[in-house]
Symmetry: C2
Subunit: 130 residues, 2 copies
């Protein structure tokens, strides 16, 4: 497992509480299930079209895909390009900011993969205790 501890981050550093609230909101927004799945697919496949994404992201509805893509575009995580042709062609591509978010989430992704078994065992043990 890569050494994440190398990251220098002082949790005791004084942080403006207003900023802290904004950061919490931002993380809440960005740690959304669909956002993460769309982010993953765009990282893996590069530029994608709408229908392509709806096939790649398992279980997402048209509505949620539209909402998720709009929110990500608004946050500057991806760029939406409309090609003026018939039939319509719309492409979605991650920005540098989007890629950097993907990299930031790598640690969590690795953590989840690494500890999946451990957590399932913890759950079984907890449930067994009643």
């Amino acid at each position: 497992m890569p050494a994440l501890e190398k990251i220098s981050y002082d949790p005791n550093a004084p942080v403006d509480p207003r900023v802290e609230t904004l950061v919490n909101e931002l993380i809440g927004r960005v740690a959304d299930k669909w956002t993460l799945l769309v982010l993953e697919e765009l990282e893996d496949h590069g530029t994608c079209r709408f229908t392509q994404l709806s096939r790649l992201v398992p279980g997402i509805s048209q509505k949620m895909l539209t909402q998720t893509l709009r929110a990500m575009e608004r946050d500057g995580l991806l760029v939406r390009t409309v090609h003026p042709v018939v039939p319509p062609k719309v492409e979605y591509c991650l920005t540098d900011l989007g890629h950097s978010l993907g990299e930031a989430f790598c640690g969590v992704w690795i953590w989840a993969e690494t500890n999946l078994d451990r957590i399932e065992k913890a759950r079984s043990a907890f449930d067994a205790r009643g």
Copy 2:
């Protein structure tokens, strides 16, 4: 900004789709707003009591605090210790697994702090475009 790119992670590595689903569910579970805030406070302050946490986590209701702590205990992220005294005294303490999750989320936290301004500008620009 620390080099997160040092983390070796091949997104093209073949992953059992069943495992992928479980990982996604796990991340969805763990990336919960209240879970992250409780995790942060326990990292900063060490072992805490129930009422102490309810004061530390801004805006959390008793109900959500109870639910969040139970879920985290079930996942093996923290240990709940009941001291048989009157008045009751219950202490919550992160496990190694809990700490490792906190470290994994460091990258996301730093990303959010680093890019907060950039995202607010992206939003303003998007909203201005109509």
